[in-house]
Structures are given as C-alpha cells and as structure tokens.
Point group: C2
Chain length 187, copies 2
C-alpha cells in the first residue's frame, strides 16, 4: 500500500473548494465538515487555516469580488472603434449557458446578500463596477450619459434576469430572440 504523499492544503484550496460548493448548494450549503470531507481531510485542518465558518465565507466573498471586478474590466476592454463589439461580447459571455457555474454563484451570493449586509455591500461594489464599465462603452459610442446609464442597467438586468428564467415551456427561436434583444439593448 502506497502511502499517499502529504499535500498540504492552504487557504486558497479551501476557498476554491468552497466556491464550488456555493455554486452547487448555495451559501447555506457551505458546511465545514462536508467541505473537509470533499477535500479529503478533516475539519482539524479547516480550523488551522480559518478562524471559523464566517472567516471562510468572507474569504469566498472577497475572492468573488476581486475576480468579478477583474473579469468585467477584461471583458469590456476595447480598442477605440470596437466598443459595440465589446458590448456584444460582454452580453454573450455573461448570459451564456456555458457559464452555468458563474451564474449559480451570482444567484447564491445575491440571495445571501439579502440577509447579510456585508455581502450586500460587496454586491453593490461589483454591480457599480460592471455598470460603469459598460457605461463607458456606451459613452464611447456617442450616447448621452443618462442613456449610457440606462442601457447599462438594462443590459445587466437582462443578463441576470434571463439566467434566472426557465424558458423551456415557452416555444421560441432562442437564437433569433437573443439577437433581437441584443440589438435592442445596444443600438
């Protein structure tokens, strides 16, 4: 019997494992002992790296905020003249079905933010950053500031809202609908 080599976990391994759990089961589903078993250790390890469960939750939220802010800046980066394409790209990336995990985390954290003020503040930061990024793109297209803001709000509300809807029983041409809506938001 080979003895498995000792691979020490760090806070980061716990945080990323926790994010997976949050995506699957929501913030309430994040349990220290369950996560420990998933990582192949016991909670003795957990309480070495974290003060308590709340410490992990805060770390998850911080990691999420930093990641989301970095991501939206990257996705909305556009050379001069490519702003419209960048907007289309942003909608595609954020509303895409391939982004199931990201959407699940968004929903879980926003749900949790209803009960937790600190989380609500983090969501506010992320949303403000996102809204500002697309506002900049709309401004570059020559729109007024008020219209750039309104279109940004519509863009994100659509993206988040669509990800929460279940259109399975509503017969439609999904691709065509997507295209129509994207035009409506950006032009």
């Amino acid at each position: 019997m080979e003895k498995p080599p000792r691979i020490a976990l760090d806070r980061n391994a716990w945080i990323h494992g926790a994010i997976d759990v949050v995506a699957a089961d929501g913030m309430d589903g994040l349990r220290v002992e369950v996560l420990a078993k998933k990582l192949g250790v016991t909670k003795g390890s957990f309480y070495w790296h974290f003060k308590d469960r709340r410490d992990l939750v805060d770390a998850v939220l911080d990691t999420w905020r930093e990641g989301r802010i970095r991501d939206i800046r990257k996705q909305t980066a556009a050379e001069a003249g490519a702003e419209l394409a960048a907007l289309h790209h942003t909608i595609d990336v954020y509303a895409a079905a391939k982004n199931r995990k990201g959407i699940a985390i968004e929903a879980a954290i926003r749900m949790w933010a209803r009960q937790d003020a600190a989380t609500a503040a983090i969501v506010e930061d992320v949303d403000a950053t996102r809204l500002d990024c697309t506002r900049t793109l709309f401004l570059a297209l020559g729109l007024s500031d008020a219209e750039a803001k309104a279109r940004s709000v519509l863009l994100y509300a659509y993206v988040f809202g669509f990800s929460m809807m279940q259109c399975g029983k509503f017969p439609m041409d999904a691709a065509r609908t997507r295209r129509w809506i994207m035009e409506r938001i950006t032009q």
Copy 2:
C-alpha cells in the same frame, strides 16, 4: 388569567406562515420547529397537518404557482386598446420596490429550483404563463409573433434582473432610467 381561546390551525395557516419564512430566509431557512414556534404551537401540530417537511415545501410551491398564475392573468387583463397601458402596469407592478416580499420569494424559489427538479418544473410553468400573457399584449399591438416573444423575454428578464441588482453605488436618475427602459421594452 384569561385562557386564550383555542384557534385550530389548518394547512393553510402553516403554508402562509411558511411563505413568509421563505421570503425572509430562503427555502433552506424553512424549519419545522422554528415555524411552529412562530405560529405559537409545537411541531406536534405540524406533523398532524403534514406528512413531513417536504410535504410543506410542496404545498408552498403549489400555492405559489397558483397565486402567480392568477396574478399575472389579472395584471395583464386589458380591454381592447389598453394593451400598452397594461404592459406598463405589469412592469410597474413586478419591478416595483414596494413588492419586496414578492421579489424575495421569487429569488428564493428560483434558487431552490436549481437543486430541485420539481421546483424547476413549477418555475417553468409560471414563466411560460407570464411570457405568454405579455406576448398576447404585444401581439394585440400589432407586432409579429417573434418580436412579441422577444419583447416578453426582455421584459421579464429585466424585471427579475433589476430586482437582483444593487444600484446603490451607481449614481443615476432612477425614475428617468426606469422610464427610458420601459419605453425601450414596450415601444
């Protein structure tokens, strides 16, 4: 000391109490013993009216579905010629800040639907009904079926998405933005 008169609870009292809890704490926050204490009884009563916790959850979901379907039909009812006003009214009612509890329940149930297939089917029913109700209004305004569907999807995605956003740190004229978006969706 007056002895409080015995007021027998029925399933409905439990269900409505449960809906309040779900709005406040999500589906995971719905606990038999906690709800019993809130209703001033013990869980001995609960297990008289319900087989188990899942039985209550199912009852909550059924009640929610029936209520939501009845409500959307009522809100989108329009005399001939008043279809546009009905659309505006629908957006107002569903996106309104005054509807905090309704929004919280929507979010909680949609979150729960990620883990529970039966719930996902119920959400699908509600969404299909809602989409169809506004589609009918758009059709009455003379739009093509494809466009009527696309506008309906945009309408609900916006309403749900906006309720999940935290725009506190994004400075804007909220009323004016709302008006702009409403026009963009309906006209």
